[in-house]
């Protein structure tokens, strides 16, 4: 029994670290700007497929991945320009729905280019099973966890140490004041969308390495990211990361001990309870206003 | 018996005490004023009286009923109406519809009446519309009744808010800076309106005002707040020369 629990925990941690990375990217727009970015998942889906195409065309691995992430960021910029900026003065709903529109557009384009079937992600490096006591782990899972951690770390550094990162914190608190302080708000928002897309694609690639790629994974990712952010606390990078891990672990435990078919339903149910009982999440400090 | 009474009303926001142990009472058909520098807790007092916030300590009584902690819709239904410092009209509705919203609490029609358009519902609606139009006439806005509320001039919007509040048939009317931003002429009109309201409609009125001329000319009794606490109360003449009041205003940072 113990062994089973450990195995589930490790699985949970592995998938959780992927969720964490996707959530960190998602939290950029959601946490900073208060907008539910419905396009997030489809952006990284598109970027992941791009990565796949590049890799299959024998572009060197690091370049392919970097390029794909940059493309993801670029698409994020497009979303910002098309779906967010023209309707900025209206609050959440309008940009939220126009983001859905952009998501649909990219999803359809992806469908036309790559078709609707599920595709495995090309193997980037050999993996093997490692024995840890009684439990067997796939080295891929360890690598992914490590990558997710380091990428998030890099991300945190950017947010806390660079000028742009600090500007983002300021803008997320108060736009008029930030403007008064000389911060280029438009540029900062663009950065937020770019970073969100960039890191989202990174997460998406890791996701596809573990599972596979299919067009619908985008929406799925958006939902997971949103749940992770709610649990961890909206607006908090730490929160998004920890929320992702917790989500992964909870899913694994629910799947292993209760039911794997209803896993997502139970997860949503728990999230709804969290929303009512602990709206701030674990690390959150920014409670959205009551209607 | 007092119309309304507060006992040691207190409101804390986090570490800040916005209203500090205020004892306050208003008699029937009385006009009372509340003055005080910015941030002295006047509007917050209105907010806890009308149920927008729950007071941290203290009690409120409407006649002999304890209304402490009642939600704001219940306070309104019980007979306390208010206007807001920053006008809160329903911009996408017409002027007459705004006032008709004020009639909401006094309408008798139920959901079934509405869905089946029973004769009693139709009568209710017609009565509500008539009453709204009468009130618009009273405040001088009848000719604008089909206009969108958002399109009215500032002074007209204030009068509309007044009409809407009166439409609820309150026993007590709370006015939060009703003449803010008005020129002396408009302010004078409002002043007269307030007197007429009290005389013909028999309601008590409490008003918050920064315009001292309006306040002295309208209120029969004034309480002065500073930093959430009551520092003085009395007839206008006494308040005008009260040392503590003068200090409070002089000490206010502009």
């Amino acid at each position: 029994m113990d062994e089973y629990v450990v195995k589930q925990l490790i699985n949970g941690l592995a998938i959780g670290s992927i969720y964490a990375l996707i959530a960190v990217g998602y939290n950029m727009v959601y946490g900073m700007l208060g907008l539910i970015n419905f396009a997030h998942g489809d952006i990284y889906m598109f970027g992941t497929f791009m990565a796949m195409s590049l890799l299959l065309s024998h572009v060197p691995i690091p370049i392919a991945i970097l390029l794909a992430c940059i493309i993801g960021g670029a698409i994020g910029l497009i979303v910002e320009r098309l779906a967010y900026r023209p309707v900025r003065s209206a609050a959440r709903v309008v940009p939220m729905l126009s983001a859905v529109g952009v998501a649909f557009i990219f999803r359809n384009i992806a469908q036309l280019i790559w078709g609707t079937s599920t595709m495995p992600f090309p193997e980037l490096f050999p993996t093997r099973m490692i024995q840890l006591g009684d439990v067997q782990i796939n080295s891929l899972q360890i690598i992914i966890l490590a990558l997710a951690l380091s990428l998030t770390g890099i991300f945190a550094l950017i947010m806390n140490k660079t000028k742009m990162g600090k500007a983002t914190h300021s803008v997320s608190q108060d736009i008029p004041t930030s403007r008064l302080m000389g911060i280029n708000v438009n540029r900062t928002i663009q950065f937020v969308y770019f970073a969100g897309g960039f890191f989202g694609v990174a997460g998406g690639i890791l996701f596809s390495m573990t599972y596979a790629s299919w067009i619908g994974m985008g929406f799925l990712g958006t939902m997971k990211a949103w749940i992770a952010c709610v649990i961890g606390g909206i607006g908090s990078l730490k929160g998004a990361f920890i929320g992702g891990l917790l989500l992964g672990i909870s899913e694994a435990l629910i799947s292993g001990f209760i039911s794997s078919a209803y896993r997502d339903a139970i997860a949503y149910g728990l999230v709804m309870i969290v929303l009512v009982a602990w709206p701030k999440g674990i690390f959150g400090h920014h409670v959205p206003e009551k209607v | 018996m007092d119309l309304i009474r507060s006992e040691k009303a207190t409101m804390d926001f986090g570490g800040v005490r916005a209203v500090d142990n205020v004892d306050f009472s208003v008699r029937h058909e009385q006009i009372v004023g509340i003055i005080g520098p910015n941030g002295s807790g006047k509007t917050t007092f209105f907010n806890i009286l009308t149920g927008i916030y729950r007071p941290t300590e203290g009690r409120f009584f409407l006649e002999d009923q304890d209304i402490t902690g009642w939600p704001s819709y219940r306070v309104a239904q019980a007979g306390i109406a208010r206007t807001f410092q920053n006008i809160r009209l329903f911009g996408n509705m017409s002027v007459v519809e705004n006032v008709m919203v004020g009639r909401h609490a006094r309408l008798k029609a139920t959901l079934i009446d509405v869905l089946f358009r029973t004769p009693s519902q139709k009568k209710d609606e017609n009565k509500a519309q008539k009453k709204a139009e009468d009130l618009l006439d009273f405040v001088g806005l009848l000719d604008k009744k089909e206009e969108y509320a958002a399109n009215l001039a500032y002074g007209e919007q204030r009068r509309l808010e007044l009409a809407r509040a009166i439409a609820t048939e309150p026993k007590l009317l709370l006015l939060d800076e009703p003449t803010a931003g008005m020129n002396p002429n408009e302010a004078h009109q409002i002043m007269e309106l307030i007197h007429t309201i009290r005389d013909t409609l028999k309601m008590s009125i409490v008003l918050i005002e920064h315009n001292m001329q309006v306040m002295m000319g309208t209120a029969e009794w004034i309480i002065a707040l500073d930093a959430g606490a009551k520092i003085a109360e009395g007839v206008p003449k006494d308040i005008q020369y009260n040392k503590k009041v003068i200090e409070a205003y002089l000490g206010e940072e502009e």
Binding site: V87, S89, A90, A91, R92, V93, V94, L97, S98, V100, G101, A103, F104, I105, N108, L112, P176, A261, D264, A265, Y268, V271, M272, L275, V276, P279, V287, P288, E289, K290, V291 | F13, G15, T44, T50, I52, Y73, A81, F84, Q85, R88, L89, G91, N92, M93, S94, M100, V101, G102, R103, H104, L107, L111, V114, E125, Y148, A150, N151, A165, D176
Partner: protein, 364 residues
């Protein structure tokens, strides 16, 4: 909305003939009655019936989002609850159709009420997420509860509507039957919105604090409109099931809820005839232009983006307010951010407490 009695017969009985609305009603009714004769083929007829089935969904969405300002994206769940309930009641328990129809609406209504309670306690963003969550839960449960719903295989063989010994099998009969049901929905919705209830809803949307201060029990109205909306969504579901003679989970996804939202927005939030138009356009276009099936999402997405940027008030939404004082359009005013107050109606109550305790963070 202020013109309560547009069709009122004035002192001169003959003047009704000058009223364009009267003629529109006459012509409209004539067209509706003769549809079975006019329609060129069965395919188009079925599209018309599909539109009729979706109209209550668009109206519900309009009521909840357009009139009351609550961004619910969970309508598809109530649609589905209605569809499955109606089918299962008839097929497994032999319940007669009229009762099955009513019960499916009622069950959807009950779930709507249940969902609305927690939604009352959370902010506007979270409300959307709660409704999405509910929709997802419904979908997953229906997909996996094999014993009840047969999961992804769905329930084939759902019987057509039947009153007594009359079976409504032909498109014509279903057309008139469903037209009556949808017509009833529209009638009730119209009466609701053109009454003090409608005013209360709009008041809640435009300025909840002020609405409360006028004696409106906002919690009651929010629950009530959720109940009303989900009831009719359930009825729509029942209509769908007995028309297609099949129920399957794929119909009741978030995309479906988004579609209902689009119908309400396209037609114009706050406009009831607009919802009919929105439903008509968004249901019939994909069906009429089959070759574009592959590009469906793309076109839908483009439509959404363009609509929201260029004409957020939809086809029939009011823009009159916007034109006059340079204020933003109906929809933008509806959804304005708090840090950029619009006119006078958007200031928060914290502003009025005169900066007590420093800058407010928006939480009460």
């Amino acid at each position: 909305m202020a013109n309560l009695n547009k069709l009122k017969i004035s002192n001169d009985p003959k003047s009704i003939f000058k009223n364009w609305r009267f003629w529109l009603a006459i012509i409209g009714t004539a067209i509706m009655i003769s549809v079975p004769e006019i329609v060129p083929n069965d395919y188009i007829f079925r599209i018309i019936i599909s539109v009729i089935i979706d109209i209550p969904l668009a109206l519900s969405q309009n009521l909840i989002t357009g009139f009351t300002g609550m961004l619910s994206l969970g309508q598809a769940a109530f649609y589905g609850i209605g569809a499955y309930t109606s089918s299962l009641l008839m097929m497994r328990l032999g319940v007669p159709w009229p009762l099955a129809l009513l019960l499916s609406g009622l069950l959807a209504c009950i779930f709507g009420i249940l969902l609305s309670f927690p939604c009352l306690r959370v902010g506007s963003d979270y409300l959307t997420l709660m409704t999405i969550g509910f929709g997802q839960i419904f979908y997953i449960v229906v997909l996996n509860w094999m014993d009840l719903t047969r999961g992804p295989m769905g329930l084939p063989g759902v019987p057509p509507p039947q009153i007594g010994s009359i079976v409504f099998k032909s498109p014509s009969s279903i057309y008139f039957l469903y037209l009556s049901i949808t017509g009833l929905c529209y009638l009730f919705t119209h009466r609701l919105t053109h009454s003090h209830v409608g005013r209360a809803l709009i008041a809640i949307r435009d300025n909840e604090t002020a609405a409360s201060a006028m004696g409106i029990n906002t919690a009651y109205y929010k629950v009530m409109i959720f109940a009303f909306g989900s009831f009719w969504a359930g009825i729509s579901g029942s209509m769908l099931a007995h028309f297609l003679n099949f129920v399957g989970p794929m119909t009741f996804t978030l995309n479906e809820s988004l579609l209902h939202m689009q119908m309400a927005i396209l037609g114009g939030l706050g406009s009831l005839p607009g919802s009919i138009l929105g439903a008509a356009i968004l249901v019939s276009l994909p069906q009429l232009f089959k070759p574009i099936y592959e590009y469906q999402l793309l076109l839908n997405g483009l439509l959404m983006v363009i609509l929201l940027i260029w004409r957020p008030q939809g086809i029939m939404g009011k823009s009159a307010v916007a034109k006059k004082v340079g204020q933003k359009s109906f929809l933008k005013q509806l959804f304005t951010r708090r840090d950029e107050p619009l006119g006078n109606t958007e200031a928060t109550i914290e502003d009025e407490s005169s900066n007590v305790g420093g800058k407010s963070n928006g939480s009460n």
